[in-house]
């Protein structure tokens, strides 16, 4: 578990004997980020810029919002922020997966910038400006939990991070102890087309298997979303089709596509959108665990009941985000 995150050194470094009165401000911590870089951070991080919504969402769950001074672009589209941390909406937006505003970030003078791997080309420029950069890359459950731990250390909320990790482990144990038989085949399509499939490289394939389903596209190992032919989808013959939030097609379009009429999921109308009112439950964020629980309930409602799901969702949002929420 601690493969990537090792606190190599957390001791005080006194630079000059004569400056002993300033020990606190010179204290540093060295951590390893999720692409294996060693990063030196001040012991007390006060100003954080997060240009990745997964990280921002985690900071809310860790109760570390007050340390954020800048966040990713598009915060106004995130319902979770509006509900749980409205103050975020007034923070300067510095970047997203598409672009990154270097000058704005430097002007905010943060102690550390948290960014996704795809922005890593900016690391050098930020480091030259004397700003530490931590890259997070949560592409599996393990890496997601590592990210929680890492962000807990950075924001000095390690206890909260441990609580979040325990919640994940408890719920996963609960599902594992139900001994769900994987009998139903599940197909998960992207938001661009229902002929675009999640691959085994993606977190979503773990989600399906963890929830006691068979991930149909288990022979597509490359890339993030793979286009498949309608014939391939008929050959897979899934029992359930899941579409991600914001899909550009409707359930009716799938039901009315005469090419897919022989598929079990179409015949039985087993087509669902993964709940995403607050944030997508299929993405690697703190609420990812709810995606697993929701799908377990959809696939095995006899064993993981509606009531069990409702209780978990309510507990999760109440405990980590301080809000009352229950998705239908």
């Amino acid at each position: 578990m601690k493969k990537f995150i090792a606190i190599v050194m957390a001791s005080l470094i006194v630079l000059f004997a004569g400056c002993s009165t300033k020990t606190d401000s010179n204290a540093t911590v060295i951590i390893t980020d999720q692409i294996g870089r060693q990063v030196t951070l001040p012991q007390d991080v006060d100003k954080i810029v997060s240009c990745y919504y997964t990280a921002t969402s985690t900071f809310i769950a860790l109760d570390a919002v007050d340390k954020l001074v800048g966040i990713e672009i598009g915060a106004d589209t995130r319902e979770l922020y509006k509900e749980a941390a409205e103050v975020l909406l007034s923070l300067p937006a510095v970047g997203s997966g598409k672009s990154f505003n270097l000058e704005q970030t430097i002007a905010l003078d943060p102690d550390v910038v948290i960014m996704p791997n795809r922005l890593s080309e900016y690391i050098e420029s930020l480091e030259q400006a004397g700003i530490a950069v931590v890259v997070v890359n949560p592409e599996s459950l393990e890496e997601l939990l590592e990210m929680f731990e890492l962000l807990g250390i950075i924001s000095d909320q390690e206890e909260n991070a441990n609580e979040l990790i325990s919640f994940f482990n408890e719920k996963l144990d609960e599902i594992n102890n139900l001994n769900l038989d994987a009998t139903k085949k599940v197909y998960l399509s992207s938001n661009s087309s229902y002929l675009s499939s999640a691959t085994t490289k993606m977190y979503q394939s773990f989600l399906v298997e963890q929830a006691g389903g068979i991930f149909v596209a288990n022979d597509i190992e490359d890339g993030y979303w793979a286009n498949i032919s309608p014939e391939q989808l008929v050959a897979y013959n899934p029992d359930m089709i899941l579409k991600v939030y914001g899909a550009s097609y409707t359930t009716d379009e799938i039901l009315n596509d005469e090419r897919l009429s022989s598929i079990n999921a179409v015949k039985n109308s087993e087509i669902y959108e993964i709940p995403s009112e607050l944030e997508g439950w299929d993405y690697p964020t703190p609420s990812a665990i709810l995606g697993v629980l929701w799908l377990s309930n959809k696939l095995h409602s006899d064993k993981y009941t509606d009531q069990m799901l409702e209780d978990s969702v309510k507990t999760f949002y109440n405990e980590f985000y301080g809000i009352e929420y229950w998705a239908k």
Partner: protein
């Protein structure tokens, strides 16, 4: 035309037709969903199970015929472009029609609707509209007709491409952008049964008009002064031809997105095959386009679980063909 060259032309024509029939059979028999010979017989006797019948009638047959007809349409339109412009590099990809049509699709995805039918309608209309823009701009230069058309085509092409880039830049990266990329990539995964009818009607209409124009077509390869001396309005003929080519290209783009290279390679190969035969090469170009797209699509949809973008395969198989023909052509000069 002497008998010898006529025989040679017929040999080429009929071998291509036989080749195309074989390719069509392959594309009906091959696919990710396994259908055994017994199942094919069962379909004729009406005892096949629903899934097999569905795959064959709703997926494989429409896709096989669409690949054939769209490939043919691109080949034919390429041949028309090259004839009109007297330039082997003129193709639907360069003269703005294809980019105009894809711009239309992107406009629909971003501003109107992502429904397949509406996107296709926009794509078709914008393809035709960009042709009219090309003609209007070309008309401002009366000195050299062909030069004017090519330059205005290139202008419209770059404007439409810039439009596509701008809309991609501003599009919502989670909901709109993937749909745009998906459409622009080109491929036959979206083909439904009614699309076969659309492309068939477009081809039928164009073939009839081309047949009526066949004498003017022969004259078009002469110099503009000579054409005028024969009392033929070369501008009117060229505009009509471009209109036909645009209908073919716009219909194709609306069905299967932008599929490059077929419109360039097919007429060029046709020309090399029929050189010195003094015969029109539109039919040959149609057949080559149909074969190239059909073969590419079979490969794209069968060799791996996920679909390989068909454009990659077209380039991989047609570029070596072109190089081979080119080297042979040079020797025989």
């Amino acid at each position: 035309m002497n008998n010898k060259s006529s025989t040679k032309y017929n040999i080429i024509l009929y071998s291509l037709i036989i080749g195309l029939v074989f390719v069509l059979l392959f594309s009906i028999f091959l696919g990710r969903y396994s259908i055994k010979t017994a199942d094919f017989i069962a379909i004729f006797t009406g005892s096949a199970d629903n899934a097999t019948k569905n795959v064959l009638l709703n997926i494989r047959l429409p896709r096989a015929f669409c690949a054939l007809l769209c490939g043919g349409a691109l080949g034919l339109s390429g041949s028309i472009f090259q004839k009109t412009f007297k330039n082997p590099l003129a193709s639907p990809d360069i003269i703005g029609i294809a980019s105009g049509a894809s711009f239309g699709a992107v406009v629909s995805i971003v501003f109107v609707s992502q429904t397949i039918f509406i996107t296709q309608a926009f794509s078709f209309v914008f393809g035709i509209l960009s042709l009219f823009l090309v003609l209007i701009i070309a008309n401002t230069n009366r000195e050299n007709q062909i030069f004017g058309l090519i330059v205005s085509g290139v202008i419209i092409n770059s404007i439409a491409s810039a439009g596509v880039m701008f809309l991609k830049y501003t599009a919502d990266p989670t909901s709109k952008l993937p749909s745009i990329e998906y459409f622009l990539m080109g491929g036959l995964y979206n083909v439904r049964r009614h699309h076969v009818l659309y492309i068939f009607l477009a081809l039928l209409f164009c073939s009839i008009v081309l047949y009526k124009l066949r004498f003017r077509l022969t004259i078009l390869s002469l110099d503009d002064e000579e054409i005028a001396a024969l009392g033929v309005n070369s501008q009117k003929t060229r505009f009509t031809l471009l209109f036909l080519a645009s209908i073919l290209v716009s219909t194709t783009v609306s069905i299967c997105g932008v599929i490059g290279f077929v419109g360039l390679v097919s007429p060029y190969l046709a020309k090399l095959l029929t050189r010195n035969l003094n015969r029109g090469n539109m039919r040959i170009s149609f057949l080559i386009g149909a074969i190239v797209l059909s073969v590419s699509d079979i490969i794209a949809r069968t060799i791996t679980t996920s679909e390989i973008p068909v454009g990659i395969i077209i380039s991989l198989i047609s570029a070596p063909m072109l190089i081979y023909m080119l080297s042979r052509g040079v020797k025989n000069v």
